[in-house]
Structure formats: structure tokens, C-alpha cells
Symmetry: C3
Subunit: 602 residues, 3 copies
């Protein structure tokens, strides 16, 4: 029984005790005294019942939550009375979770070759935009819809969610939180198919992928879910988010095939495009993960804050264990720390602790992370041996570690006493027998089978009826940044590829593609000046001296007036020369054209 | 009436009901019974009044807030009783908002040519430092000062804010939150004038720009404000922050003129310096915006959390709508996704939802964002047609979308029931007639006129009396990173520009400007070694063998001792060779000088 | 006395007042009436005691906190009754604090030469992994352990912390918060020894460094600490974290010596590798610092939120003051803004305000930051004059400013009235005499002596018995990214260094080191195509036409099929050519090998 009700009961009991005075005070007084205000939303922690007094007053339910309860990714935590503070916690956590999208983007962008780095960031934008749109439209319904059509396999109802003012608090908080889970699941796939998945096909997949995530999310966390009813434990989504995403990633990367030439020179990983960004991305994921796991208590009031605090520590402990494992293995193998190993061991450990984050002890979390980090780092080369090309190791990090996360619960978790998140079940090594382990394993199998089949089906349909899921070869060779977004970096092989392949693509005009980071207008002006100097057999000084300032509105080539003043002149003023000079010679300068993108700039 | 007061009244009514017992219990008892403790700060949600009892007890006001109320950027939400939890929400949101400064910096930095990318980051630092300083000194006063001099046009008083210990909670929380709004408004301009605005002039402008923002902020949100009194709705600053900033940006970019050569090769956007950073910056703004809008409920207790939750979802929904619009348009126009279109459509949508973020339904937010994204993407080329050079599209994204945000409220918003944030007004399509639409339009006009005139005046004064607002041409051609901060990047045209223009600037010594990222000391040592090898007709091995370790304190050229040990040697120890060798040959090596910045390094 | 107890007393007093009715109501009633529920956990702010009634009821202690209290980095704030909301604040702040690790990483990575930028990010990962591990294992114990062995110099007990379910809330929240402090302290050193500290030695140091931080943290903040007992004030760790880290940094950078050739060309700072990243890192630290300082109220309930709000403003004010100072000085010296000066002045100011962040007025904070920024910027060249090579200025920024932070408290702080964080002491200029100033100075001296001696000892032991703390020369010259992680960037001198030094290292096979960002497989395919075209005296078109698509599983060189379709074709579908073509000519193409890393790629 909840403490607020206790308070009310206790008070009413006190009033009851005075009841005998009714013959003294008169019936009206007594009647008013019993009309004690509804205190169902006052928060009182750790209330001590007076057990000497017996109460018969019926307990009234709170009015703020529906009977089925709102929930985070994980376990339903009973009805909530003080949702303002809980909402503060959940919303803040979700802000932090949204930083993970940039983390995934940066990590993937840094891990692939430079000529694809912007494209993969755009894919992460697409994941939020299209994934978010479809989650709102039907995803939330498939997971948590509560119409009469809802069945153990799939939710239904509440499409394009749009609650009334009275209900919007709980519904929108829940939706916002769940949405952050959904977009994460999609993003996992983007890394596995990087550098060769057709962008248009990816956009279609990103939209439909919501189905792949949302149906099993309902199994795990919806009131209708058959796994939920069996008592599965997946607090922050190791199974629902990561294993689901990892299994999809495996299928997708197998279907799309390895990058061109990937295994020609052995199975070692290709060099990262920007290791610094990859590590920065990992850091963002690390901090975002704290929000992800801690927020999954889906509240902070009553005793939930204790679980949130435990989650913070177990999450960090696991990542520490994973990092220790990954760095040790990497050092043992190569006598140097491979960036990829460091990053993936930490992330694998984070995945591993996510399912049971609020339940493990600090020791268990360390161990779970250690094993998770080991799995992540050891499994990557095995996939490469099978020539399944997964540039960021999504299958190992999210898939295998997600499985380990679920199994670990079945082995180690001890039934918790306060919130009963395990429904009283314990793991195998904690005297709980095989029940919990069985359920957790079953959940893994169900999610794997579902994710693989549904991903396969969706990709086959896209590939057959909409657009080939594989980039054309020329696009892959010039890189998606150039092919999809018209970005041409220098020194990373894009220009080379364009010059080799360019003639094959008569339909494309490359002349408007300027190397990234240049200001072609400035370069043209500088060419002008150089040419002037050489053509007239004069020094550059003379050439420049002739050039006169053209007003900004003028559409002619802005010529140059050098005022000879040093930017570090003592008076601290870099004055713009506004004095009028003769402008007659301006038109006599033949502009030197921008030489076009095929020419090398200095 | 607020629930706490209800509780007190109800209790006292209960006591009142016992009053007739005074003749039984005696007067002292009754007197003590009525001395019920002041419960004005207990939080009770959703209190059910007992309507059968009539109360005459006067309602006492809370003591924590002054009568005028503290507020976020937006609407005053009545007196707050549980400010501790509210402060937790507001402060946390503001932490998140401060990440937007880095987001703006990265976005702008990634969008311009590489030779200006660091300069624009510094401008964002300046915005916080100088903008923050002047906001503290007089900005807050102009917006929310409450001295007798305050009038409907402008606040006054509370300069250099420094509250007493008793008041500091509310005042500092409010100030901190408002400050984050103010620095954002200034930052908007920095993108529009990127790559050619004189840095010193920008510093001056950044300091004074506070006035441009703070005066209309008072109109919208101060108790004295004439727009506030009319019932304008601008919850998180579409008008006060974004339209104000966008209108300033338009004037500033028009006054400073386009970049040199900007429209010589047509009106297509110039290539971005670093698209990856631009997208990362957008992500940071995206997550920061969640804090920005949600925090603008300026509290989480009582019923505010419901609005905060709605805000989170509408903000995301709008960005989804904007992203859908922007990506579709970009694909339709170019058959590829332009990074600039993706970024600006999402940001434009976020601006569009900001004014009414806590009021829209999820459908409306989607639509508002869709229109906003369309405006942002479609309007940018129009400004370029007018040869108004706005490298990041600030005028479209913040200015036009800010206007749309205000109009959308006048069209769609339905009066909310709980907090009465609309003061009971509804939009045109919700049966509210033209009143709200009129007010919203009026607010737009007032802010546009004010921002344009004040920005124009300030820039004219700076240009005339302090320092030209335009960079000198040579600075623009070599780039602000080099000219203002002495950074010379390679491969982005800086060296070229220096070599063409360098002779014109006899006053500057370039020899201390080393290409970015090099370690010139190492390069000099390597040159030494190479030279030794060739000069003596010996192999490099021999040359290196002669070189001996010089103690670190030695100021001579640290020579080199190669210990021949592999970094991946099996024992895992990369021992530093500390054995003493003959040092006599050290001095016989003629150091090869650092060749100076005009020479190419390998 | 705390307000909850007041409420209970007041209620019981009311009941007491009715006591005389016992002769009317009978003894049972009275007995029940006095059994009022324990309300010790209800939160009531600003309770007004009824002073006319005298109470004799004994006050019961809350049960949620132990008598010694849990605490943040700073001052113990008394027992906490509403830890749920406090925990929400502390946990959220700590999420924000963890973003500082990426901030430090990026700042350091951007400040050193490019060939070391990834290595320094990895060092920051190591700091979390190993620093976190040892903090859990024994660090927390040394600071806050409470066994019988605890003495004024050092805590003991609670190793490998693993609390029971009942206690986990407070303990884990505290541990999580303190851990974020500990990893920060270690990270400070990594910047100071950048570019030449042996990576393995750093890993060892990072693990043991926990001792350097944790022992004095106990002096300052543990119940056993002698400085704590004297009343030292260091709220968020200027002394415990920054001065400690800065003093370690000084010793470490002196011991490891300057980078090779550092002072050959004078004492000016070397060019930054990536100024944009350095500024982004500073922004991350800036926002993280808000969480760091504000979270150090270690709660938000009761009156703590007022201090948190003040902290937010003073932290910003100080950084503003510091920025003003740094930018002015930089301009005065060089007539341009040096990025390093801007960054370090802001950070120095943040360090300076950290110790007294919750106590200063806004004016004082501005002044403290101004002085701090000045110290940071002015002191850096002095260390360079002494040839102590500290690439990021850690000694100035963290060490000297940390000292100033402590002294400033002794000078300016006025005893606060609400939480008594100063224990009633005031600074010298506030009439408090020399006591506080003396304690603060004593604390600085103790921490400096301890940090320097312990760091020296640890490094000596590592250098002597484990692995030399200095990189070998060849590693330093090729850069740690290459030497430790096998990353070879182009255009930053790595290839040059490898080619000069490579022959000396017969044991290393460079052929598997591919320039960063390339996709060598793609390049090999392009080489293939070019060669085909030239060898057969045919146009490239013909050569390409012969090449046929190879199924993805094929391990041969994936050849190329160009389908001639433009990516921007009108129908929007970039279809992958799946038509079967003759594959017989595939094997006739002699693959052109990847030329190896010593060759220049286009």
C-alpha cells in the first residue's frame, strides 16, 4: 500500500477515533470532519504505519495514471502519484538521450573513409526525421496501443498520437521517451551498411524500420506483450533496442554485401577516416547512455531514485570493465591500442549492462561489462572471416552483447526488494532456477527471429520493387558524399575517382562541384591578380595598385584595394579603406575564370 | 485557486466544523486548534475540493515569489510555491541550452570556407563573454527592470544584478535562463556576416547588440511591455529571439555586402568547409532546442510538467515536419540532398514551433514545422537573387520562420485550459477571431522595425566612428583565421593568398606563422637528419647513429638517439633509452633552420 | 530544526491542546489520537512555527541519511529528507559533468599537433576506464571511507563499494558524483604531458593517480579530514581537483621534459593542430562546468536551490570576466586574438570561481574571474621561459588559478546565512580577519606539497621499475597516433617522419599502415581501371565496359560495371544494375596491387 493512502487512512483513523464524540458534537460536525480532502497526490516517502490501529477505509486509486500504467523502455513501476518530478527526470534524461544520435553519427562518420563521412551524418538525421515520423504515425501504436484489436503479438490503436490537455502529460512524456529508443534502434543499422548502401533505399528502410523495432518492443514492454506477461526483464533495451538493431544490422550487411575490394588485402579493418571524431562520438554515446539507462527507471520519486543511482554506477562500472577488457585484448594482439577495439569494447559493455542496469551490483556490472567488451572485440574479426562487412561492428557490439545482456540477467540477477522489478524472480546463480534464464533466452530468440525475418523482407521488397539497396559501383568508388551530396574533399581520392570514372557519366555536370572548404571566388580573384602581374611584366605590386575598390552591390569582379595597413598596427584599428579611387581601370581587367573543379588548386 | 490553499482551507474548515465544541473544550483549546501551521509551500496536486463546505477564510499569497512573478522567456505562469523543483528544471534546461552556443559555432564554422572556421568559433565565444557581460550590466534591466522609470517601451533598474541572499534563488534562476536567450539572439547575426565582417567591429557590435534584443524582449515578456499587456504569445522566443536576430542579420549582411566574388559564378551556395561539423552543429542545436523550449514552461511543478511534456513532443514533431519538407524539396530540385537544405529545414522548423511550442497539438506542430522548413529552404535562394549574402541562411531560418511562428499561433492555437497561457484567446481557425492574429502580427512588425533600425544605427555608428565593419580585402582573401588569429591551414588557399598578397604588407612578419597542425620543431630535426645523411655521403643509418641524446634542459637542438627497439616488441615495454652516449659530436651538426612558412613542408 | 519535524510537532501540539478532552472522550480515543503517523519524510518549505505554543515532544531524526551525511565535492549540507529530488539534481548534474571528459579530450587534441590528436583522446578514455576502476576499488575509500582505521590524513574502508539495496540510493549517488570529480583530476595531467609521454607509462600513471587525488580530497571533504575540521571551503574542487591536478601537471611536465625541439625557435607556443576542436572542447568544458559547480550544492531541495542558482550565475560571470581579461591581454600583446589565450582565460576563470561558486556575489565572481583569466594568460609564457613545456597550459589554468580560487575565498567571502556553508567564517575584507584566509592558504600548501611529492614518487617508480615515462625519440617524431595506434595522417609530417626514420626500425612492418581516411580497396580498383585503359591502348570507356559485376561473396577483385545512369536522373531511382553480364573476362585482368603506404596516393 502506498504511503499517501496510508496518510489519509491514518488521518481518517484519527478522526474515527474522535467519532464517539458525535453524541457530544452533533451529527453535522462529525459529517464534516469525515470529509477529509483527497490527499492522493501528496508525496510521502518512507511512511511508518501505525500497526496498532486497524483501518477499514477503502483505498481510493490515484487519478493521474491509468490503471495500466505508463512506463519507460523497461519495467512498469506501478502507479505514480507525483508525476511532475518524475516527468522532470524523464524529460531531462531524454534530452541527454538525444545527444546519442549525434554520437552515433560521429562514431560512424569517423569510422568510415572520409569520402563518406557527411553522408552517414545525414543518415542519422534521416533516422530522426523519418523514424520519428513513423513512430508517431504508427510505431507507438504497435508497441503500446491499447485498442480492442491489441493482441499478445502486436499493439493497435492510438495512431498519430494526439492526447487531450488532461492526458497530455503522461502520454507525451512516455511518447517522447519511447521515441528516443525507437530512433536509436534504427540508427544501429546505418553503421553496419555504411559506405555502400543506396541512400534512397536507406531512406525508405529508415521509415519502415520502425515496424521492426516496435512490434517486439510491445512484446517486451507492452501490457499485451507475451514476453512481458512471462516476466521478461529488459530495463533499458538491450534486447528490444540493441539485439533487435544488431540482428537487423547482420541481415542488412549480409544482403548488401561487402564494400568493393573489402577483403582483397586481408581481413584487417580498413583505416578510420577520422579517429578523433570516432572517439568523440563514443564519448557522446557514453554520456548519453547514462541518461538512457538511468532514465529507464521512468521516474525519480518514491524509491525510484535509488534504482536510478544504482543504474548510474552500474552503467559506468560496466563500461570500465569493457574498456579494461578491450584495451587488454588490443594490446595483447597488436602491442598497440587499436582505436576500434577501444571504442567497441566500451560500447559493447554498455550494451551488456543495459538490460539489467538497475539490478546488478557493482561487481556484477563490472563482470558483465568485462565479458561484453571481450565479446565485442573478439567477435568482430569472426564476422570479417565470414566476409560479412560491418564497418563499425554493429552486429558484435549491439547484437552479441545484447544477447549476453539478457543471458546475464538470467544468471546473476537477484530479486530486488523495493520495486520488485524482477517480479520476484532471481537468476540461476542466485537460486532462482532456470525460469528467468529461460524467459530471457526465449526473448532473445524471438527478437532475433523477428528482426532477421522482418528486415530481410523489407529489404527484399525495397530492392525488388523500389530501388536497389546497393549503390552503383561508381557511386561507391567516388564516395557517397560526392554522389549524394555533391561534396568533393581533396586528398581522399574523390578527385581521382571522378577523373577515372567521370567520362562514364556523361549526364552529370561536375563543373559546379567545388572542392570542399575552398572559396572559389577568392581563388578567382587571386588568379586575377597573379595574371595581371605576369601579363603586364610588372611586379605584383603595380598590378594590385591599379585595381580599385568596387562597391559591394556591383556584380563585377570585386577588385582589390590594398591599403597597406598592417592588421597589427599599433592603434588597434584595422580601418577599411573607404577612400574613393579611380574606377576607370576596373573594366579593363579581363576576369580570369574559375578553372573548374578538375584543375588543382594551390 | 491553488491546491495548497485549498488544503489549508479544507483543514481549517474541518477545524471550523469542530468549533461548536468550544463550549465543551474550552476557549484555549479552540484557539490553539485554529493556529494551524502555514502550509503555503506544501505541494499537492489534483486536489479535490469538498464543495459541500463553504469557506470564508481569506487566501494568503505565497511568500516565495513577488507579486509580479518571475518568468521564462515566455508567459508568466502564476505564483510558484515549490520553486526548488522548478529551479531544478529551469537550471537543468539552461545547462542544455548552453550547448546551443557550441552548436551555432560548429554549424557556422562548418558552413563557411575552411580559412574562416576558427574565427567564427571565436565569435561565438565573444557572444557569450561580451553579450553576457552587457546583459548582466544593463540588458536584464532593459527587459525586466522594475524601477519607477520603467515604461511600456523599456524596463529600467536592477542594473548589474546582485540580489540579496534571500532573493537570489528566483532572481538568479531567472537571470541565468534569460541570459541564455540573450546570447542566442546575438549569435544569429554572426552567421549572416561570416567571412567578411571585421572582427573588431563584431566585438563592438556583440557588446551593444544586447540592446537590440533586450528592449523588445521587455515588450513581449516584461510586466511593463505593451505587447505583453495586449496578450501576445511567444513562449520560447520565435519573435523575441529569432525574428529579432533574423532581422538584425538581414540588415547586417546587407550593410556589410557580399563576400568578394560571391556572385561571380552564379548564385548557388558556396561549398561548405566541413559538412560533418555543420551537421554536428545542427544536432547540438536540435538537442539544445529541446531544453530551450521545454525549459520555457519555467517550471515543472503543479501542472507545468504537462506543458513541458507537450513541448518536447511538439518541438520534435515540428523538426520532423521540417526535415520532411526540406529533404523533399532538396531532392526535387537537385536529385540529391544538399546538406544546407537538410540543416536549414530542420532549424527553420524548430524556429517555427518555438513561439507556440507548449500549445500546439502534435498534428499542428507537424504542419507548422513542415511550412517552416519549406520557408527556410525556399527563401534562401531569393535572398541570393537580391545579392544579400547570408552564408548560413540566418535571415530565412530565424527571420522568416520566426514570423511564421508568430502567425501560426494567431491561426491555429486553441485556448488552453490549465495554465491559461493564451489568456483565453484562440487563433482565427479555432474561433478566436482576428484578435490574437492581429496581436501576433503587430508584435512581428514592431520587432522587425525595431531590430532593423537599431541594428542599422549601431552598425553605422561603429562603421563611422570606431572601425569599418568590413574586413580589408587582403584579410578577407587570406581568411580571418590567418588575419585575426595567425592560423595558416594548408590546402585551403591560405598559403596561396599569402604568397600573392604578402608583398603588399611589408609591416607583417609572416615568418612566425607556422602551418596549422605541424610540429615545426620535429620537422627541423627531420631535416637535420636528412641533411646529415646526404651531406656526408653516408646512409641515413650512419647519420642517425652519430646523433646523441641531449638532456631535455639543453637548449641546443635535441638530437636523436634511435634505440632500434620496436614499439611492438614482445615484452610490451617501450623503454626509453637513457644510456649515456658520447655527446661530443652534437655540436658538430649544423642545425638546419626551419625553412619559414613560405616553403612547402612534406 | 527542520520543517518536517516542525509540522509534526505543530500537529501534535494541536492534538495536545485537545488533550484536556480526554476526560470527555475517554482514554482510548486520546491514545489513538497521539499515534500520529511519522511524517519525517514529507517536504515542507518555509514553515512558520507557532511560537505561542511550547512543545516538549522529542525530535526524531530522519532515517534516510546517516549521521555523518553524504556530500558533494564540497560542504556537507546537513541531513536531507527529500533525497529523491536531490538525487534527480545530483544525477542530472553528473550526466552534464561527464561531458567534460570529451571537452578535455577535444581541447587537448585540438591544441597539440595533428599527429597526436587521436592519442590524446584515447588517454582521456583511459582516464575514465582506469581512473574509474581504481576510484571504485580504493579511491572512494581513501577519501570517504569510514572504518575504524580512518584517520585525519586518510580514509579507510568501503573498498570496491557495493551497498545494500536499502543504502544504495545515497551511496551510489554520492559515489557517482565523486567519481566524476576524480576522473577530471587525472585528466588535467594528460594535457600537460601531451606529445611525448610514453603511453604505457601514462596508463600506469592514470591508474595510480587516483591516490594523488583521493587522499587530499578526504582532507578537504571527508568527515575525518583535518582541513575539513578546520573549516576549509572548497565547494566544487578548485583546490581538491584543479590545484591538485595542476601541481601534478607541473611535476609531470618537468620530469618528462619539453618536446623535442620545443624551444629551438623561441618560446612562442607551437601552432594548434585544430583550433576549431580546441574551441569546441572549451565550449564543452564551459557547459560541463555549470553542471560541475551547480551540482556541488549536492541537492536542490529546501534552500539548496538558491545556492545552485547563485552558482550558475557566478560561474558564468567569472568566465565572462576571464574572457574579457584574456581577450584584452591577447589583443594588447599581439593585436590579434590568440586562440590559446581566449581558451585558457575562460578556463582559468572557471577554475578560479569553482571553490567559492555558491558564495560569491555577481560582482565578486566577475572580479575573481577577471583575475583568474589574467593569471592563466600571463603565467603561461613564464613557464615557457623556464622551459617547462606544458602544451595546454594546465599548470597555469588549473594550478595557479586553483590557488587564486582558494585565496579569493579567504579575501572576499561573506558568511552566508541560510546553509552556513562557511561555518560562519568570513574573508579578510569582509571582517572575518585572517582565520579563513589562513585556512585556505594552508589547504593550498598542503595540497601542493602532497601532489608534487606523490606525483614525483609515482612517476619515478614507473620510470625506474616499469617503463620509461618518455617516448622514444622516433615515436615522438612520427607522432603517437602512428606509433601507438597505427594511424597515419597525410600532410602533417607523419609520412615524412616515417620515411626518414623508417629504416632504423627494421622490426616494424609499415606496409599495413594505410593513410587515414583512404579506402585502399577502392584505390586499387581505380588503379586497375586506369591500367586497363592504358595497357590496351583503348579508351577508359572500353576498359570499363569489359569489366563485369562480380557477386559480393566472390573473393576476387570486385570488378566494376558502370551502368551509365546519372544519380540525378529524373525518375529519382538510382537503380543498381543487376543484369547478368558475361563474367569470363574477369580473370584476365591482372590485379594491380595496392602500392603500399610509402607511395603517394592521388
Amino acid at each position: 500500500m502506498n504511503s499517501t493512502q496510508s496518510f489519509q487512512q491514518s488521518f481518517e483513523a484519527t478522526i474515527d477515533a474522535i467519532m464517539p464524540t458525535s453524541n457530544v458534537l452533533g451529527p453535522t460536525v462529525v459529517e464534516n470532519m469525515t470529509k477529509f480532502p483527497d490527499l492522493s497526490n501528496i508525496t510521502i516517502e518512507a511512511f511508518t504505519m501505525d500497526t496498532n490501529v486497524s483501518y477499514d477505509i477503502p483505498v481510493t486509486n490515484g487519478t493521474h495514471t491509468n490503471s495500466t500504467g505508463f512506463r519507460g523502455g523497461g519495467v512498469v513501476l506501478g502507479s505514480t502519484k507525483d508525476f511532475g518530478n518524475d516527468a522532470s527526470w524523464v524529460l531531462t534524461s531524454t534530452f541527454i538521450i538525444f545527444t546519442m544520435q549525434s554520437g552515433f553519427g560521429l562514431l560512424e562518420s569517423g569510422a568510415v573513409s572520409m569520402k563518406n563521412e557527411a553522408n552517414i551524418m545525414v543518415k542519422n538525421v534521416v533516422d530522426v526525421v523519418l523514424g520519428g515520423f513513423t513512430y508517431w504515425l504508427f510505431g507507438y501504436s504497435l508497441s503500446f496501443g491499447e485498442s480492442e484489436w491489441t493482441n499478445p503479438f502486436c499493439g493497435w490503436g492510438n495512431f498519430a498520437i494526439n492526447p487531450s490537455e488532461e492526458d497530455m502529460g503522461e502520454i507525451y512524456t512516455t511518447f517522447f521517451f519511447q521515441l528516443s529508443f525507437a530512433t536509436t534502434a534504427t540508427t544501429i543499422v546505418s553503421g553496419a551498411v555504411a559506405e555502400r548502401f543506396n541512400f534512397v533505399a536507406y531512406v525508405l528502410f529508415s521509415a519502415v524500420n520502425t515496424v521492426v523495432y516496435c512490434v517486439p518492443a510491445g512484446w517486451l514492454w507492452g501490457n499485451h506483450g507475451f514476453l512481458y506477461k512471462l516476466g521478461v526483464i529488459d530495463i533499458a533495451g538491450s534486447c528490444g533496442v540493441h539485439l533487435c538493431g544488431g540482428a537487423s544490422a547482420l541481415v542488412a550487411s549480409r544482403m548488401v554485401g561487402p564494400r568493393i575490394g573489402r577483403y582483397d588485402n586481408g581481413e584487417d579493418p580498413l583505416p578510420m577516416g577520422c579517429p578523433t571524431n570516432a572517439i568523440l562520438g563514443m564519448f557522446m554515446l557514453w554520456w548519453g547512455w547514462l541518461g538512457f539507462n538511468c532514465g529507464s527507471t521512468f521516474g525519480i520519486t518514491e524509491e525510484k531514485w535509488k534504482y536510478a543511482a544504482r543504474t548510474a554506477v552500474t552503467t559506468l562500472q560496466a563500461s570500465i570493465g569493457g574498456g579494461l577488457a578491450g584495451m587488454s585484448i588490443s594490446w595483447y594482439k597488436n602491442h598497440r591500442l587499436e582505436i576500434g577495439d577501444v571504442v567497441n569494447s566500451v560500447l559493447g559493455a554498455l550494451v551488456s549492462v543495459t538490460a539489467g542496469c538497475a539490478l546488478f551490483t557493482s561487481w556484477e556490472a563490472l563482470f558483465v561489462g568485462l565479458v561484453g567488451g571481450t565479446i565485442a572485440v573478439m567477435a568482430m574479426p569472426l564476422f570479417d572471416k565470414l566476409h560479412i562487412d560491418d564497418p563499425v561492428g554493429a552486429t558484435s557490439v549491439h547484437g552479441l552483447c545484447g544477447m549476453w545482456a539478457m543471458i546475464a540477467i538470467g544468471l546473476f540477477v537477484k530479486a530486488d526488494g523495493i520495486l520488485k522489478m524482477t517480479n520476484g524472480n532471481s537468476g540461476l546463480f542466485r537460486g532462482g532456477g532456470f525460469y528467468l534464464l529461460g524467459i530471457q533466452t526465449l526473448a532473445c530468440l524471438c527478437i532475433i527471429v523477428w528482426s532477421m525475418i522482418s528486415t530481410f523482407t523489407i529489404l527484399k521488397v525495397i530492392d525488388k520493387f523500389a530501388v536497389g539497396i546497393r549503390m552503383s559501383e561508381w557511386e561507391e568508388l567516388v564516395g557517397a558524399d560526392f554522389a549524394e551530396h555533391g561534396i568533393r574533399r581533396r586528398n581522399v581520392g574523390v578527385s581521382r575517382a571522378v577523373s577515372v570514372l567521370g567520362l562514364q557519366h556523361a549526364g552529370i555536370d561536375y563543373s559546379d562541384i567545388i572542392p570542399q572548404g575552398d572559396n572559389p571566388c577568392h581563388i578567382a580573384v587571386l588568379n586575377n591578380l597573379s595574371a595581371l602581374a605576369s601579363r603586364r611584366h610588372s611586379t605584383l605590386s603595380k598590378a594590385v595598385a591599379q585595381v580599385t575598390k568596387v562597391p559591394y552591390k556591383d556584380q563585377g569582379i570585386p577588385a582589390l584595394m590594398i591599403n597597406g595597413q598592417s592588421p597589427s598596427s599599433k592603434n588597434g584599428d584595422i580601418v577599411r579603406s573607404v577612400s574613393a579611387r579611380s574606377t576607370k581601370s576596373t573594366n579593363s581587367i579581363t576576369p580570369i575564370e574559375y578553372p573548374g573543379p578538375h584543375h588543382a588548386w594551390p
